[in-house]
């Protein structure tokens, strides 16, 4: 999230999925050796963000994301030109992923253990499916902002990590738009790292 509260820049599109300036919010993670290894790349840095990144991917058995994050195009799915996400043939999840959408579609199984299941009956149904699929591990909420807000408002979040990036985007999608309070979530730890501050909130 930017210092002015945006989780993505304005004018998100297939060409520019994070919106104008939105890639700046991810610059802290790309140089990390831990992130590179997860994406099949060698080398990289080790710094204060490393343990935060490693924690965020440890013990995850299933992931939930919104249709906007899964991406491609709005509206019904195109059977002729199937959109299978941003991550290529071997996505970095390696576990079941549940995509919230208004448009039904059969599941998609990709390489490396990632399956995308499309859920049309709401956030609680997706959470229930993800819990069952996670085999006792944690369920991660990957985003985007609208999906995060829905789960926050419903009080269904046990832990939340904000990666606060010290830049302004000036416009875009606000992570906390119309969220009135954090409910039972309280700041549990802060990690100051290069170009990012990691704020972890935990249900009290």
């Amino acid at each position: 999230m930017s210092l002015d509260g945006f989780a993505a820049g304005p004018q998100q599109s297939k060409k520019n999925p994070l919106g104008i300036g939105g890639t700046r919010l991810h610059e802290w993670v790309l140089p990390l050796a831990a992130w590179r290894a997860q994406h099949g790349l060698e080398g990289g840095e080790v710094n204060e963000s490393t343990r935060v990144f490693e924690e965020s991917v440890a013990d995850i058995g299933a992931t939930i994301m919104g249709r906007n994050m899964f991406g491609g195009h709005p509206g019904p799915w195109h059977a002729a030109e199937p959109w299978n996400g941003w991550w290529g043939a071997n996505p970095p999840y390696h576990h079941p992923v549940f995509v919230l959408t208004h448009h039904p579609r059969p599941p998609v199984a990709l390489e490396g253990g990632t399956t995308f299941t499309f859920v049309t009956d709401g956030i609680e149904a997706a959470l229930e499916l993800a819990h069952r699929a996670s085999r006792g591990l944690d369920v991660a909420l990957a985003g985007g902002a609208s999906t995060a807000r829905q789960y926050l408002t419903a009080g269904l979040i046990d832990e939340m990590e904000i990666h606060l990036v010290p830049v302004l985007l000036g416009a875009g999608e606000r992570l906390f738009e119309d969220v009135r309070d954090l409910g039972p979530l309280e700041l549990a730890r802060t990690v100051a790292a290069p170009n990012v501050t990691h704020l972890k909130f935990v249900r009290q």
Copy 2:
């Protein structure tokens, strides 16, 4: 500033100068022994915020603030019922304070060395007056949000400290509303403290 970017809550008034929920943004500072001493009170805590607070008040020779922060009522000053700020007969500044306003008014000298001078010809004039009055020390910009935005947008800020409080206000005055970027300001240090994260930006 709240996690969702507000420097004050909604419905600011004489009775509720920080707006609904706005006092939550200041809860970290009130228990500090250093803050209490500045306000003539004994006791209090010493924690990671102490040095940040002490730095923020050290070597300040003059302060600038907006009319909204100085408070009282909007529009022309009432000569019959003069409003001399929120801070009583002996304000905690102890140096010249310049108040940006559209309405001329003679200076007010209070106890302990605080004088309020009312500047009607804009932010650059106020900065020039404050520099001259500061006798070689720093000029502090106390707020509020609108005044901070004007100086930020004009590129007149050398250092900025954000006290990020891990709560949501949901509404109110956004510190960075319509500010597009931080210009030459870059994150220089982060201090994690109880119930607040201090982010210091310095001109590069």
